[in-house]
């Protein structure tokens, strides 16, 4: 029982970051129709930037993290401007542009930071809090808390603010939204910026757990995509919940079936979800 509970906590910790990454992807796709293949690499840049600031600027993890999030947000905007990402681009163009951005980000990191994983010290390394035989590190507790707070804030923005109403209008129909006077490209840029910030936060939080490595974005992107499909394409709550489920399912697979099968979990959940509920688990209940 203790083992199962401990794995549940690890799953929640992993799933929290997955949820943050998936929510950013879902927001951008739901509102702007932009499928960002470089989203995982924005997470990676957040992690690498955290390592760089801690190691070379000799600042604390918290300060480095804040600086890294700003960097990722700026990088997201640069990517939008340089690649000319617009909502009216074809799906094929979006694949090529964001894939190119993804590869460029990876190559730049390889050339500047190297191909090896870099270790980052998080909050209170080695300190754990627990109850009844199960425990989490201070960093993992903080990570889960920050993810929950960030997702709640995002949910509030999407559902209770004028910006959220605009996002929802764009999710319904960008053409109609445009006819109503909404500056669709401007708000698509806002969605991309929020999505990049979420990726940056994810990268900062995950760096002390997984290390920082140029290829780490790929796995996260696969899980984020699977979460978006399972949760109902474009549905932020659904994607976040699906990501949490995937994170927990992966840890239980490792414990009771075999760790080598863990990477398959995201695909199996996606396959089963699509087989039995084509529109995803939560599509009918929300717009984004």
């Amino acid at each position: 029982m203790t083992t199962a509970l401990q794995q549940l906590l690890i799953g929640i910790s992993a799933g929290s970051v997955y949820a943050l990454v998936a929510a950013g992807l879902a927001l951008l796709f739901g509102t702007a129709g932009l499928l960002n293949f470089a989203h995982g690499d924005l997470v990676m840049v957040g992690a690498i930037a955290t390592w760089v600031f801690v190691k070379y600027f000799d600042v604390s993890y918290l300060v480095a993290g804040l600086m890294a999030i700003v960097c990722v947000a700026v990088l997201g905007e640069m990517m939008r401007r340089v690649t000319g990402l617009r909502t009216d681009k074809s799906f094929e163009s979006l694949i090529v542009l964001t894939l190119a951005a993804s590869l460029i980000f990876q190559q730049v990191v390889i050339l500047t930071a190297g191909a090896n994983a870099h270790l980052v010290r998080g909050l209170a390394p080695g300190t754990r809090v627990g109850l009844a035989g199960v425990s989490l590190s201070i960093h993992e507790v903080t990570l889960a808390a920050v993810c929950v707070v960030t997702l709640v804030v995002l949910d509030f923005i999407v559902r209770r603010t004028t910006l959220g109403k605009i996002f929802n209008a764009m999710a319904q129909s960008r053409r109609t939204a445009s006819l109503l006077g909404i500056r669709v490209e401007f708000y698509a840029a806002i969605a991309l910026a929020i999505s990049a910030v979420l990726a940056g936060v994810g990268g900062v939080l995950i760096a002390p757990v997984l290390g920082a490595n140029y290829s780490m974005g790929l796995n996260l992107l696969i899980i984020a995509f699977a979460s978006v499909v399972v949760g109902g394409v474009g549905n932020i709550r659904g994607a976040a919940l699906a990501a949490l489920i995937i994170g927990i399912a992966q840890t239980f697979t490792a414990q009771y079936i075999g760790f080598v099968y863990s990477p398959l979990v995201a695909y199996i959940i996606m396959f089963v979800a699509v087989l039995y509920r084509e529109s995803g688990l939560f599509r009918a209940k929300a717009k984004i």
Binding site: G33, L221, V260, V274, G280
Partner: protein, 414 residues
């Protein structure tokens, strides 16, 4: 434009497939700092820029298929660096057969298809003998064309059972394996875990590739022979970054020791995650992981105390020749060498000695000379078994008071 759920699903589903394909590509052939799109790269200090244009009489041309990109690039780059140093040293000492030695590099990328094309490209360049590949999938792909061309090769990797079974008598008799086979390391390691460290139970974790599976299977066989019970055994896919679930699983069976087979760039992450999980079980491993960044992340060198290791070579325990190599390596590449670097260096020396012993550049003569090469390496005198496998000495050590301590250098001969 209203996007229907079905259409959107199809789009994102396609995206998942594309990303998955990319991910699998990353596992086998993605990029690294010194990656090159050229199939072969000249590695000597001669003025010639195109070996095909150069006369074979000006130098002795050898090849190396190694991984300067892909998932084994960290080891591959070190090995090529070691080979470069050896070529320089050999040429400084007069070369082989009275001529300078020239080495052509082709990137095997730790992949079967790339290993095959790299091997073929070197054969077409007219190499008289070869070194490599490093990865078992590339070795499997390289052996048939090497055999067909009558070119011998000495690998400083591929020390797995399935490769050894294909090499030597009755198989590819021109393929030679220099590092200790994983079965030797597992046998010697299991004995040390029992006799020197007194463990009774173990949980195993290895990379899901030829190396990791070889180590795990070796320990699954050898530990019970020594009376150590294997409580759990797991593999992980190359590219994995979150090991917390499997570490927790290993801890849940309450073993005396975790036995681990990881690449040098994965092990620090595993150790950091183990420390963050608060797991106190000692680790025993098949990887060199002593680095300042790891010490920093774990809170100091003493955090590694109790970590025991079995490896083909350990720089901290180097002899006089090994120390000279370390100094040269540091000066040339501004980094610390790992065992693959020294094995790359020694492999080149063994091949050069065989070419001198053959007395000609005829590939068949060189193959025969390798089989009977008369050279004593820092790991012992080279003697090949029936599978052309050398059984060099194995280094056993443990971290004590924040420093690696050599427990023994064991002879691999049974």
């Amino acid at each position: 434009m209203k996007r229907t759920p079905k259409k959107a699903l199809a789009i994102v589903g396609t995206a998942v497939l594309i990303v998955s394909l990319l991910s699998s590509c990353a596992d086998t052939s993605m990029d690294t700092p010194t990656a090159t799109s050229n199939p072969t790269v000249s590695e000597d200090s001669a003025t010639t820029t195109n070996s095909e244009d150069a006369s074979a009489s000006e130098f002795v041309l050898i090849g190396t298929v190694n991984d300067v990109s892909g998932v084994s690039a960290t080891s591959g780059i070190q090995q090529v660096n070691g080979q470069r140093l050896a070529v320089d040293d050999i040429n400084d000492a007069g070369g082989v057969l009275g001529k300078p030695l020239k080495m052509e590099l082709a990137d095997g990328k730790c992949s079967g298809t790339d290993g095959l094309s790299a091997t073929n490209s070197l054969i077409s360049k007219g190499v008289v003998a070869m070194m490599g590949p490093l990865c078992s999938v590339a070795c499997t792909a390289a052996m048939p064309p090497l055999d067909a061309a009558g070119i011998a090769s000495i690998t400083a990797g591929c020390a797995t059972q399935d490769i050894a079974e294909q090499a030597g008598e009755g198989g590819f008799d021109g393929f030679f394996i220099l590092p200790p086979p994983e079965s030797d390391l597992a046998r010697i390691g299991a004995k040390a875990l029992k006799e020197r460290l007194g463990y009774k139970t173990a949980a195993l974790l290895g990379r899901d590739d030829g190396f990791g599976r070889g180590v795990v299977e070796g320990f699954e066989t050898e530990l019970p022979r020594e009376g150590i019970e294997v409580l759990s055994s797991d593999l992980y896919k190359p590219g994995t970054s979150d090991y917390r679930a499997v570490l927790q699983k290993m801890a849940s069976v309450k073993p005396d020791v975790f036995v681990m087979a990881s690449q040098i760039d994965e092990a620090p992450i595993i150790l950091q995650q183990k420390a963050e999980l608060g797991l106190k079980e000692p680790i025993s491993g098949r990887v060199q992981i002593f680095s300042e960044s790891l010490y920093d992340a774990l809170g100091g060198p003493s955090a590694m105390d109790g970590y025991s290791f079995f490896s083909p070579w350990e720089p901290f325990a180097a002899d006089v020749e090994g120390k000279k190599f370390i100094e040269k390596y540091r000066a040339a590449y501004n980094e610390e060498p790992i065992w693959q670097a020294y094995y790359g260096y020694v492999t080149t020396q063994v091949l050069a000695a065989a070419i001198d012993q053959a007395g000609s550049e005829d590939p068949a003569s060189i193959k025969a000379a390798i089989k009977n090469v008369d050279i004593t390496t820092p790991f012992g005198k080279v003697v090949w078994d029936e599978h052309n496998q050398f059984h060099p000495n194995v280094y056993i050590g443990i971290m004590t008071d924040g420093k690696p301590e050599l427990l023994a250098i064991e002879s691999a001969s049974e």
